[in-house]
C-alpha cells in the first residue's frame, strides 16, 4: 500500500527499511550510499505498485 508523500517525515519514514538494509550489508556504509538507498526506499514507499514496467 503506497503512502502519501505528505506523510513522509525524513528520518522517520523508511528508517526501519534503511536499518534492515544496513544490517544486511554487514559493514559500515558511506553517507553517499546511505543517502542513495534512503531515496530509493522513499520512492518505493510512495510509488509502491504504481511503477510502470
Amino acid at each position: 500500500m503506497p503512502i502519501d508523500v505528505k506523510n513522509i517525515r525524513l528520518g522517520e519514514t523508511g528508517m526501519d527499511e534503511l536499518l534492515a538494509w544496513l544490517r544486511q550489508m554487514g559493514q559500515p556504509q558511506r553517507l553517499e550510499a546511505i543517502t542513495y538507498e534512503y531515496l530509493s526506499i522513499l520512492r518505493s514507499l510512495v510509488f509502491e505498485g504504481q511503477e510502470q514496467v
Partner: protein, 613 residues
C-alpha cells in the same frame, strides 16, 4: 451457624428422599463419596462413576454388580438435590460435595484487572499523541522524543513536506522539474534507441497538478518521481546533509556515525574499561597520537586480512570518540587518536585562546592569501607557497588561511578541534609533528610545531612551499636554498621584552621587503614586546608600531604600508586588508599621499574633549 459447624462430621449429612431402601443406598453412596473426597475442599465437587460404585458394593456384599447398579441409580435419581447425575459416552457419573450438594464453580469476570487496565472507565482521547502509551520500555530511556503540537505538524505538512501545486515547486534549475516528455521528441527518440532507459527512470503518473516532493534542509524541494541517480547528481550535497541530519536527530539513535560512515548502533562492538586503559597506555608509551589501524593491529591483532576489519574499525573509532580520555585528531584517511597525558605540541609562550583571537582576522573577511591564485589551482597543483612573517618564524606558526585551507584536510568530525599532521623536510630528512587548530566561529586557525625547523633553517621573509603527499596527513615543507648571506636581523629578547638586531648568516631565498633587517628598517628595534592583551587588539598594535617605527611629522607619525605590515607582523599576525580596515575604522589613523598617519590622542586631550562635549 452452618450445618457443618453443628455436626461432628467434616461434611454435611443431608436428608435423603425415596423409599427406605433408596434412602439407605443414597446414604451409603454419599458417605462413600465424601470419604473418598475427605481431603477435598468443602465445596469441591466429588465425582464418581456408577460402575465403580456398583463394583465396590458388589465386592462387599458378594452380589451381582448389575443388580446393585440399578438399585443405586434408582436411589440416586430420587435425590437430585444431593447428587448431580450425568451420562457421558454411556457411563453414568454422580457428583456431590461435602456441602451436601453439588455447587457448580463460578468464574467472576466482571472486574478483571487486565480488563480494567485496557478499558479505563474514563479513557483519554487517543487522537492526542501525548497520551498514547506503550507497554514496552523504550530502547533508550535518556533520550525522550520531543512532542510537537499537532498544530505545527499540520502547518509543516502544508508548507514543507506536503503536496504543493506544481507551479510552486522551487528548484535551482527549471528544467529539473520538467517531466521527461517535454524533451525534444527527436532527441528523446534518439536517446531511447541508443540506450533504453532503466525501469527506475520511468516517471510515475501522479494526479494532475500535484507533484510528490520532499523538502530538504536548504529549502529545495525535490521531485521523487525523478530517478535516484538524477536526484543524487543534482542535489547530492543537500540530500546527504539532510539525510545525515535526519539520522542524527533520530531519538532512538538506531543508526550511528563516525565521520561519513554509518552503521546500526546495535551492531557496534563494545570495549571494556581494560581495553580503553590499554589503548591509552599504548598511546602514551609511543609518545604521539596513533592511527586506529596501528591500535587495532598492535593491541587487538586485527589486520586488513580479517573479514570484519571495517566493522571493528568503525566500532573502535566510534567508541573512542565517546570516551573523555581520548580525542580524535585525525583526518579522512588517517584516523589518529590523542590520549590524555600526551605532551602538548607547539609553542607554550602563547595561549591557544590568544592565538585564536590574533588569527581571528582570517575569519572576519580580511584573508588575502588567495590574491593572485585560487583554491582550485592549489588543490590541483597540491602545493602552496608563502613568505614567513617574523611572528610566524618566532613562534613556529603558520596562519591557517584560505590558501592552506585549500591544501590541508578539513575536519572529519563536526566538533573536531584540531588535527595532527606530519611535516617532512626532504632537504634535511627530518619530520615534525604539527598541530592544525581549526578555526571556530569567531577564532582563527593556525598550525603550530614548526619552531625548531624555522629557527634552524629559515629566517623571517623566507619563501616556503608546503606540498601534499600521497598520505592525507603528511606534507612536505621546502624552501629554496641559496649561498650564505649575512645580515643583521631582528631578534626578540623575550625576557627583557625588547627587540635587537644580531648578525645572522642564512641560506634561504627571502623577500627583502619582508626581511626584518637593520638595513631594511632599523627602527624596528624601538618596539617593545606588547602584552598579549594589546597584541590581540590590532588597533593597539598599530598605534604602537606608528609611535615606535613611524617617523614623527608634527603631531603625527607617518609610515608606509610595507613598513607598517612588516612591523605589525613582528608583534602579531595581520594581513594588509585587516590593517587597512582597522585604519579606516579608527579616526586616529588616516591616509595621505600613499602614506599612513597616526595622531595619538593623549589622555589629557581626551579628557578635555570629553569636558567640552
Amino acid at each position: 451457624m452452618s450445618e457443618l459447624a453443628m455436626s461432628t462430621q467434616p461434611y454435611v449429612v443431608p436428608t435423603f428422599s425415596g423409599s427406605q431402601e433408596d434412602q439407605d443406598w443414597a446414604d451409603r453412596v454419599y458417605k462413600l463419596m465424601v470419604t473418598y473426597g475427605s481431603f477435598y475442599a468443602y465445596e469441591a465437587p466429588i465425582r464418581q462413576a456408577l460402575s465403580n460404585l456398583a463394583a465396590f458394593f458388589a465386592a462387599q456384599q458378594g452380589s451381582s454388580a448389575e443388580e446393585l447398579a440399578s438399585a443405586i441409580d434408582r436411589a440416586i435419581q430420587q435425590n437430585p438435590e444431593v447428587f448431580l447425575r450425568e451420562e457421558q459416552e454411556g457411563e453414568v457419573f454422580y457428583t456431590t460435595s461435602k456441602a451436601g450438594r453439588y455447587i457448580p464453580p463460578q468464574t467472576e469476570q466482571t472486574h478483571m484487572f487486565a480488563q480494567r487496565l485496557y478499558e479505563p472507565e474514563n479513557p483519554l482521547p487517543v487522537d492526542d499523541l501525548s497520551v498514547v502509551i506503550t507497554t514496552g520500555r523504550p530502547a533508550l530511556t535518556t533520550v525522550e522524543p520531543v512532542y510537537i503540537s499537532d498544530y505545527w505538524r499540520a502547518q509543516a505538512e502544508g508548507v514543507a513536506s506536503g503536496v504543493l501545486p506544481a507551479a510552486e515547486i522551487f528548484d535551482d534549475e527549471e528544467e529539473v522539474e520538467q517531466p521527461a516528455e517535454v524533451e525534444a521528441p527527436a532527441a528523446a527518440e534518439a536517446a531511447a534507441e541508443a540506450e533504453p532507459a532503466p525501469q527506475t527512470e520511468e516517471v510515475t503518473p501522479e494526479p494532475e497538478g500535484i507533484i510528490p516532493a520532499i523538502t530538504l534542509d536548504n529549502g529545495v524541494q525535490i521531485d521523487l518521481r525523478l530517478p535516484v541517480d538524477e536526484l543524487m547528481a543534482r542535489h547530492g550535497e543537500a540530500l546527504m546533509a539532510t539525510v545525515r541530519r535526519a539520522i542524527e536527530h533520530d531519538p532512538l539513535r538506531r543508526i550511528v556515525s563516525f565521520g561519513n560512515d554509518f552503521y546500526p548502533e546495535s551492531m557496534v562492538e563494545s570495549f571494556s574499561k581494560g581495553d580503553y586503559r590499554r589503548i591509552r597506555e599504548y598511546i602514551l608509551e609511543q609518545g604521539e597520537p596513533l592511527l586506529d589501524t596501528i591500535i587495532m593491529a598492535d593491541l587487538f591483532g586485527r589486520t586488513s586480512r580479517d573479514r570484519d576489519i571495517e566493522t571493528f574499525r568503525f566500532a573502535l573509532n566510534y567508541r573512542l570518540n565517546r570516551e573523555k580520555d581520548f580525542e580524535f585528531v585525525g583526518v579522512e584517511g588517517a584516523r589518529l587518536w590523542w590520549a590524555k597525558g600526551l605532551p602538548a605540541i607547539g609553542t607554550k609562550r602563547l595561549k591557544a585562546s590568544e592565538l585564536g583571537q590574533i588569527f581571528a582576522y582570517l575569519e572576519e573577511g580580511y584573508d588575502d592569501s588567495l590574491d593572485g591564485t585560487s583554491a582550485e589551482s592549489i588543490r590541483e597543483s597540491g602545493h602552496v607557497s608563502r613568505f614567513l612573517t617574523f611572528f610566524e618564524w618566532e613562534y613556529g606558526l603558520l596562519a591557517f588561511d584560505a590558501a592552506l585551507k585549500a591544501l590541508l584536510p578539513p575536519p572529519l568530525l563536526p566538533d573536531q578541534r584540531s588535527a595532527m599532521l606530519r611535516i617532512e623536510s626532504p632537504q634535511h630528512y627530518t619530520s615534525y609533528l604539527v598541530e592544525l587548530r581549526y578555526p571556530t566561529s569567531n577564532r582563527g586557525g593556525w598550525l603550530q610545531g614548526l619552531e625548531d625547523f624555522f629557527k634552524e633553517f629559515l629566517v623571517p621573509g623566507a619563501l616556503i612551499t608546503i606540498a601534499a603527499t600521497e598520505e592525507p596527513n603528511i606534507f612536505t615543507l621546502q624552501y629554496e636554498e641559496t649561498a650564505g648571506e649575512e645580515a643583521r636581523l631582528l631578534t626578540l629578547d623575550e625576557k627583557k621584552g625588547r627587540f635587537a638586531f644580531n648578525a645572522t648568516t642564512f641560506y634561504c631565498a627571502v623577500d627583502n621587503d619582508l626581511l626584518p633587517s637593520q638595513e631594511r628598517l632599523s627602527r624596528l628595534r624601538n618596539m617593545k614586546l606588547l602584552t598579549p592583551g594589546d597584541r590581540r587588539r590590532l588597533e593597539a598594535t598599530l598605534a604602537h608600531v606608528f609611535e615606535t617605527v613611524g617617523q614623527k611629522q608634527g603631531d603625527a607619525f607617518v609610515i608606509s604600508l610595507n613598513d607598517l605590515y612588516l612591523a605589525t607582523n613582528v608583534q602579531r599576525s595581520a594581513s594588509r586588508p585587516a590593517i587597512l580596515a582597522t585604519i579606516a575604522e579608527d579616526s586616529r589613523f588616516e591616509q595621505q599621499d600613499g602614506l599612513y598617519l597616526y595622531r595619538p590622542v593623549y589622555e589629557e586631550e581626551q579628557e578635555e574633549t570629553e569636558d567640552e562635549l
